[in-house]
Amino acid sequence: MARVEIRSESCKSCQYCVKFCPKGVLAIGDKVNSKGYEYSVPVNMEACIACCICARMCPDAAIEVYK
């Protein structure tokens, strides 16, 4: 059982997490944060294996991973 948490206010919609997640857990959502960015959201959390790749790739330290 694994989980990621994304601080939507920190996200800048670069999509690195989306691209590199090996399990397709993440996607850019359609909501916009206060800076005007459409932030990343988990769309398939069950698939998460807590590999931390998304978190490692995030330039804005927006992702934390739990297991």
């Binding site: 800048k12 916009v32 206060s34 800076k35 005007g36």
Partner: protein
Amino acid sequence: METNLCVAGFGGQGVMTLGKFLASATCDSTDKNVTFFPSYGAEQRGGTANCFVVISDEMIGAPLGDVMDDLIVMNGPSLNKFLCTLKEGGNLFINSSIVSDDIARKDIKIIKAPVTELALELGNAKVLNVIMLGVYVGYTEVVSPEVVWGTIESKLGKKPKLLPLNKAAFEKGLEIGKSQK
């Protein structure tokens, strides 16, 4: 007569271009004095972006006034920051797609246009600024729409493919602007 305009929004919303098109058109078509003054932070993107356009029959003193006649607001934070600078009886042009806040001031005119949505409808999120420029020109008639369009046309000269889209955006804006007079 001197008109002070402030255009404010996110970086990336074409705020500077909007102001530049307007100021440039004024220079091309009138004898008036006109200044365009951009205000940047150190960040290349993501910060707030705003610019000031002053149009005047006389010499222009401050290219950025303390009190605005017109204010174009493209996002929420800018509304908070600049609303207080709008003079009594001034015009507030607002991107109603993003700025949902109720506006407390009752001493001003408010012209709403959901330019983000409209741009998406036109098929390109980036033309929101041209729509808003249309709204502003349509409402204020500070310069003739033809001249403004001429300026847009010449600046886009190198990318003729973009012209129809921009034309549609500008006309859409004009329409909204005129309709709210």
